[in-house]
Amino acid sequence: MSTEKTYAEINEKIKNGKAVVMTAEELIALVEEKGFSRATQEVDVVTTGTFSPMCSSGAFLNFGHSEPRIRMQRVWLNDIEAYAGLAAVDAYIGATQVPEHDPLNSNYPGEFRYGGGHLIQELVERKRVRLKASSYGTDCYPRQEIETYFTIDEINEAILFNPRNAYQNYNCAVNLSPRTIYTYMGVLKPNLSNAHYCSAGQLSPLLKDPYFKTIGIGTRIFLGGGVGYVAWNGTQHFPSIQKDSTGRELGPAGGTLSLIGDLKQMNSKWLKGASFLGYGATLAVGIGLPIPILNEEITKFAAVKDKDLYAPIVDYSDAYPNRKPGNLGFVSYAELKTGEITVNGKHVPTAPLSSYPRAKEIAGILKQWISDGTFLITEPVKLLPNVNDQITANSLKG
């Protein structure tokens, strides 16, 4: 008889310290040894992880009120503008925003050494941040300017809210042009001389639940070293199953998550400001999702290996920027991880931008939390749209 478990049953085991928890890597080994059926019986929760630059990240801050009050029409944190088109003393600091007088790409390629991501890291490290705000003055908020300092512990709320994180899959980026290009996928050397990819592959959360059978609104997760939650699907959530030119199915792609959590309990080891030469500043975010093993189907998905997960190879000198359809073929994460792939008949060295050792560490920490009984799994309030919903991308005219 096939095994079926409920969230409540698994949580009961977690509370009693009897749950069997494994990382996705460990599950792969167990399935190889004992098969899907036995693994489904034995394992209760599988943990995943990813640590990678995720530009669509940021934090809502509420600074508290000054005397007299100011509405804060515009806000700068260490000279980086935060969006303040909200109620008084609320602002959103985005990971990719850079200081007012950053040279940007005027001295190409620009270095972007400091940005919103670095500022968020400093907030978590409890460093003092300079706040400057201006306003036009109203009867109820008469003050027009303020300049002061604060630490994360001195403000009311600091809520990490990342509208688009944990991409299910990502392009393998190459450069077909004769000049070096500087992209969010790193430095791509001319004439197809390197290839960059950005996924933890067999440890990556959304590759392990490709049809969103367990991940949904309210799912409790590891976020930035603390506890966070899935708030919604991410922006540009277009779950699909990739197919090559012959129609062969090559695994999932396109899903994204919108994540939320209290920044005050996070850890800067897992929220790190990053700079991409010639591109911009961003934030590397550590994320880990638990996958409850409710039945054998979920085991099968969670045990998929690097050799069966594929990334499309995309030219970032022309096809990507000019939005030309098609790609240069697909390559498995097993091939990418060897350090060399073949594209258009040429041997091309590969390098990742997503840290596999850190992804593994996150999956291990989450495993520990669940094994300790301190982290219970959550039945989603609502599951997220999946490939069957056939969501397609709209594009902008103009």
Binding site: G186, T282, T350, A351, L353, P357
Partner: protein
Amino acid sequence: MAPERIVLRFTPDTTEKPVIYRLVRDYDLVINILKANINPQKEGTLVLELTGEKYQQGLEYLRQEGVSVQPLIEGITRNEQLCTMCGGCTDICPTKALYMERPSMEVFFNDDKCIVCQLCVKACPMHAMEVRF
């Protein structure tokens, strides 16, 4: 004889002197320039590999000309606190001084192989690679 790696520092007035030519002609040294940043009337640096019997005499000549000579010790270092082991540097590094072990995908830095080209210094998103002379 194993090549010696040294860093030369030029003051604005010493950059005008053809010291490399003299090292080759007068001291019969084999020179491999690893890194050069020389501009007329500006301070400059030169990272060299030098081999030859008159190595010490060559260095003495450089000092007499007012060029500072220092051994190259760990020109580039990796700040372990900042490195997240993403691996993005490993295909940028021309000598494989930065490399990944597989299957762990951990990133290592072998400074014996480093030629101080500094490509990694700018390419590293975490600014984990630092220049130290």
